[in-house]
């Protein structure tokens, strides 16, 4: 039986890869994909902990996180499309109309 620690380390690795993606990449959609990786890492941790404790709470949390992630994707991509319409560019280094 795999100890829970391995799953948590896996989720930590996934989370870090996602965080790196958000901090390093320029394209808005890739950044968004990286955020999804981070959310998945948290979900993984939840499910692993649920199996450890045997109560259902963690899985319920994952259920809701997936719902929120879906809503967030809809909103985020709508905003990306809106930006693309005005600037024809979704490179975040170019988003500097607001100074700072």
């Amino acid at each position: 039986m795999i100890p829970t620690t391995y799953y948590i380390v896996l989720s930590a690795l996934l989370f870090t890869i996602g965080a790196l993606g958000v901090l390093i990449r320029r394209n808005a959609i890739i950044i968004f994909m990286a955020i999804e990786l981070m959310l998945n890492a948290a979900n993984l941790a939840f499910v692993a902990f649920t199996r450890m404790y045997g109560i259902i709470d963690g899985q319920v949390f994952v259920f809701f996180v997936m719902t929120v992630a879906a809503a967030e994707v809809a909103v985020g991509l709508a905003l990306i499309v809106a930006i693309f319409r005005t600037k024809h560019n979704i490179d975040i280094d170019q988003l500097n109309n607001l100074k700072g």
């Binding site: 100890p3 965080a19 979900n43 499910v47 899985q59 259920f63 809809a74």
Partner: protein, 168 residues
């Protein structure tokens, strides 16, 4: 190593490599495909963790809806498949350092899991998760309020997304 252990290893490696490729590929469409592979890997790990219902939902919602939506967005916002040179933004060195710190911190934290409660109950698969999940979601003693709030959230997201992305 038992069969389950080697399965875990295989899927973990698949997930991590795909995740790494999502973040480093130049071509956006390829990144989306690697994302789908990562999500499949995570779904497989859910199965290993006896969360069968969640694994199916992961495939349906994350891959079937979210990843597809991302592909739509990629199609809508790429004029030309332009390999425009740099893919890393201007702050990448600081970001990489920050990421390294974060990773070390998280690994230290994760290592603490072993300390307290490693007595893993032998889940023999008799746990009827779906039924329990369903009851928890509609019982006033449990999670019915978050359930209703999630519906309101989806409605708000729907209205907002349509409004912002509609042509004048």
């Amino acid at each position: 190593m038992t069969g389950m252990d080697s399965l875990f290893l295989i899927f973990a490696v698949i997930t991590l490599i795909s995740a790494f490729l999502v973040v480093t590929t130049k071509n956006l469409f390829h990144a989306a495909l690697w994302l789908i592979m990562t999500l499949f890997g995570v779904a497989a790990i859910y199965v290993l963790l006896n969360a069968f219902y969640l694994a199916v939902i992961q495939v349906i919602v994350y891959i079937g809806a979210i990843a597809i939506l991302m592909i739509f967005a990629i199609m809508l916002t790429q004029r030309v498949m332009n390999p425009s040179g740099r893919i890393f933004n201007k702050n990448w060195i600081i970001a990489a350092l920050l990421g390294a710190f974060m990773f070390i911190g998280l690994v230290i934290i994760s290592m603490q899991t072993g300390a307290s409660k490693t007595t893993l109950p032998q889940i023999s698969g008799q746990l009827d998760t779906v039924s329990e999940l369903g009851q928890a979601l509609v019982s006033p003693n449990a999670y019915v309020i978050p359930f209703e709030v999630a519906s309101v959230l989806l409605l708000a997201a729907l209205i907002g997304a349509i409004f912002v992305s509609r042509k004048r």
